[in-house]
């Protein structure tokens, strides 16, 4: 059926000018990634993009919540406070200067990474003062007590609000169930008790330890030449002490038994999260698992789960599965939400679909279709500066090879059905999964 459908669209192709027949997945010139280190050890990744008069600068630190130790939320609030006062400038000064230039500064932290991103016009009179402020934010945050106390109060409101959203509850309960005592178990935003117990001295110590050049990756994309990029990177890194790279996050231990958790909530729908520790960046099984999951639940509107749960049975609006590769094994997560009384049925379909795929792997047709989608869509992954700068930061942060993007399609094409089945057998433990269910009581 797939083949005949494709054929039916071919006459349209034949009728067009020759340029439409550029052939399958025309090869796009990869952005050549340039890489160097600053004198004090920050790793820099750079791609020139002269087409638009703008620049993106993303500085990433190994300073996510995996570094929280006994203080959940410390990494996140430290990152959040960076632009709330630095080098004597107030939050109003910082925002006022940047916004007056039309620049955009964003901070954020998840489990592995903490980052500060800048987008600015690339002319000197815009970019220079914006980068000047960014440098202060990175290297000289003030962590004033009133700012900290205010932002902590706001974080507490966010924490309370997340309790009224069953999807948020399902997400954090799922991480806790999958990761137990591992640092990935806690929420990046922390919890009320740990935030209440924190003080600005904790933030200062965290910043001193982790916001250092050797722990930093600087990604630059935009209308600036190599020399200017070198100066920009050196200037930013120069705001940071050399320091030391963070030690590796401890490995994740697999679940030994299945964990089932039910969290009652006064909602009309039940949210399901199911899964286990999955894979890490640079994992030898990355490509078989990635392509396999694309077929099972990752491939948008055409995955097996989408068909079984949504199209054939109308049980859920969104249903998917995804690997989140991290420094250590990030979670493999299955996710759906359904009317409370349909939960058992939806879960049964989810488990049967996974088991069937686990036992038999994909069909030949499915594998061909997935490869066509992934490789044919490759140009879309890198069609904007914002996407490229994120790839640079990811490649740098996880130490992936510089030809990661260049070899991506070849490695996808090399995946076989047997490799997918084998990888699922070894890496996806059907009997040791965490299942977190958040919602109204199921009907008796």
């Amino acid at each position: 059926m797939r083949t005949s459908a494709l054929l039916r669209s071919l006459p349209a192709l034949a009728g067009m000018a020759a340029c439409w027949l550029a052939g399958p997945a025309a090869v796009q010139a990869m952005p050549a990634i340039q890489h160097w280190q600053t004198d004090n050890g920050a790793r820099v990744y750079y791609v020139p993009a002269p087409e638009l008069p703008m620049a993106d600068v993303r500085v990433v630190f190994d300073a996510g919540s995996a570094r929280d130790a006994s203080q959940p939320g410390l990494a996140n609030i430290t990152n959040h406070l960076l632009d709330q006062g630095a080098a004597g400038l107030s939050a109003n000064d910082i925002a006022g200067t940047l916004e007056g230039l039309g620049a955009e500064l964003e901070t954020g932290a998840l489990r592995d990474m903490a980052w500060v991103s800048l987008r600015s016009l690339s002319s000197d009179r815009h970019l220079d003062p914006a980068v000047e402020v960014m440098g202060k934010v990175l290297g000289q945050p003030d962590f004033n007590r009133p700012d900290f106390e205010r932002e902590r109060e706001r974080a507490l409101v966010s924490l309370r609000r997340s309790e009224q959203q069953p999807s948020k509850v399902a997400d954090y309960r799922f991480y806790a169930a999958v990761y137990g005592e591992h640092p990935y178990a806690t929420r990046p935003i922390g919890n009320a008790d740990s935030l209440q117990a924190m003080g600005v001295k904790d933030l200062r110590a965290f910043h001193r330890r982790y916001y250092v050049a050797r722990n930093a990756v600087i990604a630059i994309v935009g209308d600036i030449d190599r020399k200017a990029a070198e100066q920009l990177a050196a200037g930013l890194a120069g705001r940071l002490p050399e320091g030391e790279r963070a030690s590796p996050v401890p490995p994740v231990t697999a679940l030994t038994v299945a964990v089932d958790e039910f969290v009652p909530r006064p909602s009309t729908q039940t949210h399901v999260r199911m899964g286990a520790p999955g894979m890490h960046r640079g994992d030898p099984d990355y490509f078989p698992l990635y392509v396999g999951n694309h077929i099972l639940g990752g491939g948008g509107l055409v995955s097996r789960l989408f068909r079984e749960v949504r199209e054939d049975r109308g049980l859920s609006y969104s249903v998917n599965s995804s690997f989140s590769p991290m420094a250590q094994n990030g979670p493999y997560t299955f996710s759906l939400q359904t009317r409370n009384d349909q939960t058992a049925e939806a879960l049964k379909v989810l488990r049967e679909t996974l088991k069937d795929f686990h036992d038999k792997g994909p069909t030949g047709d499915e594998l061909v279709a997935a490869k066509k989608n992934i490789t044919g869509g490759f140009p879309l992954r890198i069609d904007s500066n914002s996407k490229i700068v994120e790839y640079l930061a990811m490649i740098g942060f996880y130490g992936l090879p510089l030809d990661y993007l260049e070899t991506f399609n070849d490695r996808v094409m090399a995946v076989t059905r047997e490799q997918i089945r084998d990888a699922y057998q070894r890496r996806v433990p059907l009997q040791q999964m965490a299942t977190v269910i958040v919602g109204g009581e199921p009907a008796p």
Binding site: A95, V263, S316, A344, P379, S384
Partner: protein, 456 residues
């Protein structure tokens, strides 16, 4: 509700210096409008088909029909079975989706540039040949009900916003939630969809927007080939249902299980399409920027960091709507503050705008953000298409986007003060408050080993 700076996102650019090319507009004989914009930075293309139909075209009893129809558009034609559309796009390396709003329904594919014919072949097929099947509908309407539970029923702030809109508007169809009332979804019939499809899905009610690494004349030839043969429909516009003048404040309270209170306020305002005075929508846009154009703007500076009465606060205004709309404010009170005090603080901000002109610094900041925003926007071909489609489906020429920066720059402090005085008045105000009920339910999780507890 979004509290971002709409006007920055909507800024646009056509500087000849830049990689982005000119916009080309064509009209086919059957009334289909084709708008093509070149962007040669990457070998990709986005193809969007915009229909002039959405929730604001609906009436009581069939609310949500535009959106359910959007879902059904993936369920096949005589030539392509259910789901085949998506499979063909996927096999061609594409990503695709669709979205419904008050003023439009849009379908899009993002593709490597040589695959544009695949998009046109499939989109032209489902523009007139959709096969609406009872069994598929029975399943899909359940999916939409799940979507409503996800987006609205179980989201206290969304429920509040839905009630807010239904209170603010009496006759105007902007009172209708895009997802539809649950009861209307439960009573929807296939015949409702068929009538809606027959009435609105026609080439003379469609705008095809293509942005990417393409040659405009070739896109035109391709459009003629695929969309050209389609028969137009006689279009009957929905009744105008102009909102009667509001004569006093309206309030509504939503009491549902929740943790954090919330308030949303809206003032009746004109938009570009309806404004009697053409600079007013631009002045209202600047007004939104003064309040919420970033972290240095007044609401965050004064209410979140200053008095700390709010945990968050926002303002927004969309000048590109099809009908007169609302100037919106919303806020979450900080811990130990009430909804009343945060509402009072928002009102004080508005009073200040009415009594004192905004500063030159604020106008300069908004100007700088608007100029930069039009450059940043070119980093996304999808968004470039979005702006064109939104303008056109609001009944505005896409060329307005090119005036945007100039018009924003021309706004004076006196004009901002004038619109604040004229429109941010008690008689045009609606306020909705989320008043949390206890969450009930035992929050302690029940942990069981394998085999226990939940169904397998």
């Amino acid at each position: 509700m979004r509290s971002t700076v709409l006007f920055v996102l909507l800024a646009f650019c056509c500087r000849p210096l830049l990689a982005a090319g000119e916009v080309h507009e064509y009209m086919l004989d059957n009334g289909l409008k084709l708008i093509v914009k070149e962007d040669h930075r990457a070998p990709v293309v986005v193809s969007q088909v915009w229909y002039g139909v959405g929730a604001s075209y609906e009436h009581d009893g069939i609310t949500g029909v535009s959106h359910v129809l959007e879902h059904m558009m993936f369920k096949g034609t005589d030539r392509h079975g259910p789901g085949e559309f998506s499979r063909i796009i996927a096999e061609n390396g594409g990503s695709e989706n669709a979205f419904t709003s008050k003023d439009y329904t849009a379908y899009f594919q993002r593709l490597e540039k040589s695959r544009l014919p695949v998009s046109f072949e499939l989109e032209s097929d489902r523009m007139r040949n959709l096969k609406l099947d009872d069994e598929e509908f029975a399943k899909e309407v359940r999916v939409v009900m799940e979507e409503r539970r996800l987006r609205t029923e179980d989201k206290p702030t969304s429920l509040t916003y839905e009630q807010f809109m239904a209170t603010a508007f009496t006759s105007s169809s902007y009172r209708i939630p895009t997802i539809g009332w649950m009861d209307d979804l439960e009573n929807m019939q296939l015949a409702d969809l068929q009538q809606w499809y027959d009435r609105w899905y026609a080439p003379n009610n469609a705008i095809v927007v293509v942005v990417g690494d393409i040659v405009p004349e070739e896109v035109l030839a391709l459009a003629r080939q695929h969309f050209g043969p389609l028969k137009p429909e006689t279009l009957t516009a929905p009744k105008p249902r102009v909102e009667p003048k509001q004569a006093g404040q309206r309030r509504v309270t939503v009491r549902v299980p929740a943790e954090v209170p919330y308030v949303v306020m809206g003032y009746k305002v004109p938009v570009l399409k309806t404004a009697a005075v053409d600079w007013e929508p631009y002045a209202l846009t600047v007004l939104a920027g003064v309040l919420d154009g970033g972290s240095s703007a007044r609401l965050t500076r004064e209410l979140v960091r200053g008095s700390q009465v709010a945990a968050s606060a926002g303002a927004s205004y969309d000048a590109y709507a099809r009908q007169s709309s609302l100037f919106l404010l919303d806020a979450t009170p900080a811990n130990s503050h009430s909804v009343e005090s945060v509402e009072q603080a928002l009102r004080e901000q508005l009073q200040q705008l009415q009594t004192e002109p905004v500063t030159q610094d604020e106008l300069d900041r908004i100007k700088a953000q608007t100029i930069a925003g039009k450059v940043y926007e070119q980093d996304s071909i999808f968004y470039q298409g979005m702006v064109i489609g939104q303008l056109e489906t609001a009944g505005l020429p896409w060329r307005l986007k090119d005036e945007f920066v100039e018009r924003i720059n021309a706004v004076t402090a006196e004009q901002v003060q004038a619109v604040a005085k004229k429109y941010l008045v008690e008689s045009g105000l609606t306020v909705a408050e989320l008043d949390p009920l206890p969450m009930d339910g035992d929050k302690t999780a029940q942990n069981t080993a394998a085999g226990g507890g939940y169904a397998h």
